[in-house]
Assembly symmetry: C2
Homo-oligomer: 389 residues x 2
């Protein structure tokens, strides 16, 4: 059942196409096309060198255009985080869609509809109850449920642990229990624990441990005579600096790398110049007694992600102004100070555009109904993401 669609595309051409960035209404989420293309291409090349298929996760941008870039135009092979995304991409002509969430009983009808409509709509399981539900609700016309078994290799969210005595039994039940109804496509692990790392060495240690845990489980399956053709791990930190062991997987599924962000820069996943996303904002007030600038950018345009350690300062860096700090964020306002307390107000007259580099691109993108994609300083595309569930 379709509940929420994303904003439909405008019926009239946007007046902002062709506009210089400086003329955009603020706050505005902008994406630099060349940087997006570079990020997409580097990840594709990295995967090609490892002999891995890249199945990009689309949860960061949730746009047809972003997925087209990330898949190199194939329109096949993506991961989605919600059924709203699955429907949106299916309607946009995509196929081979993996819904990477423990398949919920109360939305099985929607999954079934997608599975019938697409050549390949793939679901995720981590429990016998999930499998039982699929078996009780077979697809019509001889089609089979395509299932990835979710493994928890240390991330501690969804998934069954590969060393869990029940894991092999669950894999066997998926693969061999009712092969006319259900197919075990592969093993899926998310190493989100890389986000807690301090350097690339730590990230690679987790990527290696996750990969090894998945591959050992693949071996155990093979020894038990269980066919499991695919194996995938994902996370932008691990896929930005892959370890050689990952070449023994069949695919990877990072997502954030298309945009990157401040957090990924801090983790070492990317260089600062590889971050494609900004939130443009303008100076709307001077408060000389507090030595503060007021911006037309609050948490509705940025989110509060990044504030847990350092308060608002952690939510964004201000491009080209390393001495400026975001010290306050309310719904529609941001407050900026100089790190040393002094601020040359004449350098920032009312109307000055400042570009904020957000801490967490996924969270910031979720706040915007449209993204302004630019090249050579002008808007060349408007991307409209899907929202909801």
């Amino acid at each position: 059942m379709v509940v929420h669609r994303g904003s439909p595309p405008s019926l009239t051409p946007s007046p902002w196409l062709g506009a210089p960035l400086e003329q955009l209404p603020t706050p505005a989420l902008t994406l630099e096309l060349r940087t997006l293309r570079g990020n997409a291409q580097r990840m594709r090349e990295r995967c090609r060198e490892l002999g891995l298929r890249l199945r990009p996760h689309v949860k960061t941008h949730k746009t047809l255009e972003g997925a087209a870039l990330a898949t190199g135009g194939s329109r096949r092979g993506i991961v989605v985080s919600t059924l709203a995304e699955a429907r949106f991409f299916a309607a946009g002509g995509w196929d081979d869609i993996l819904y990477a969430f423990p398949v919920p009983r109360w939305r099985l009808a929607e999954c079934s509809e997608l599975a019938q409509r697409l050549q390949e709509f793939q679901v995720l399981l981590d429990s016998p109850q999930g499998l039982e539900m699929l078996l009780q609700n077979p697809l019509p016309n001889g089609k089979r449920w395509l299932v990835w078994l979710k493994l928890d290799c240390g991330n501690g969210r969804a998934g069954i642990r590969p060393k869990d005595p029940e894991a092999l039994g669950l894999a066997r039940a998926i693969a061999q229990g009712s092969p006319e109804l259900v197919t075990l496509v592969g093993l899926y692990a998310h190493c989100g624990n890389t986000y807690g790392c301090r350097d690339i060495g730590d990230i690679q240690a987790i990527a290696r441990a996750t990969t090894v845990a998945v591959l050992e489980f693949v071996t155990a399956l093979r020894q038990a005579g269980i066919s499991c053709p695919q194996a995938t791990i994902g996370s932008t930190p691990s896929c930005s600096h892959p370890v050689p062991e990952m070449s023994q997987l069949t695919e990877v599924h990072p997502g954030n790398y298309l945009f990157y962000d401040l957090q990924q820069t801090q983790l070492g996943s990317c260089k600062p110049e590889e971050v494609a996303i900004r939130v443009l904002s303008r100076v709307v007030g001077h408060y000389q007694h507090r030595r503060q600038l007021l911006l037309d950018c609050g948490w509705t345009a940025l989110s509060l992600h990044g504030s847990d350690q350092r308060g608002p300062e952690g939510c964004a860096a201000i491009e080209g102004h390393p001495r400026l700090r975001l010290v306050g964020l309310t719904q529609e306002h941001g407050l900026v100070e100089d790190v040393d307390g002094e601020l040359d107000f004449e350098k920032f007259p009312l109307g000055t555009v400042l570009a904020l580099i957000p801490f967490h691109a996924c969270a910031t993108a979720a706040m915007h109904p449209v993204y302004f994609v630019h090249d050579a300083g002008k808007v060349v595309e408007l991307w409209r993401p899907v929202r909801g569930w």
Copy 2:
């Protein structure tokens, strides 16, 4: 220039009208109609007793239906935080709209259009530059810009301080500089610093200090022969427990009170049963070795507001389950533990619906494209908020 509209209303009736809450797809933002009505009525009565006009801020809900409830159906007299809201409410038949943001030069054309279209579209100023801009861009046909002077009475965001030597001069310039072009409507102060309080006494002290500062400035204006008919302060904590001094103002402009939330309960602004907002979520996983439940609710459905002090636990309480704690929040997943470490999984089978009481209703509402309004356990209305800027 219209940039982003909110989601247009569906052309077909929603299949969810009349549905029991337990059948809603999750995550779902729900609002209890009786509680909304009670909150709206209590605030109106409180204002009537004080002889104050209530000009509700609509930034929390951003819906025509919410504003209709809050204004008692008058469709007049609201505060908006963005021009997207201003256009949305103007298109919905509202008038007497106060755009409570330092009026930006680069969006003056939009303000001018609204000022011409509405009987009363009011703007906010806190600087001579803002006034100069209005004077240089007069409204046609003899219409005047309607201006509120924004005062900073200790909140430290936008506004000129009433004791600032330039404040009286700015008020005079607005009121008397070019009366054929610009009218000083009133003084506007936001006591957002009440959110840092620990109890009602502290909140009332700030409400009193803000009121007194505004009233002293009114007196100074009167003594200087400057006409300033109106004076308003706002914030849900202060207006939920108003001090007698506030009766000397002409109006107040709280917003959050229509929903209330966990934060307002903690501040003492409301009783727990006065919180109208919930995010419904379902149990999608059991992880017995970690003693954790997995929910289909992440930060896309809740925001990370409230996490700064206590991590994810601060983001929401779980209704009816005081021993349960939200210990993890990623994009689409929530993790729940029992406070004592034990968890009776049989009480929470897969599919169990849990109702989360969000820390910050404004932030949670901003994450949802539709709100499910219910009465007696069934969905009676769907509200669709405006977004963007």
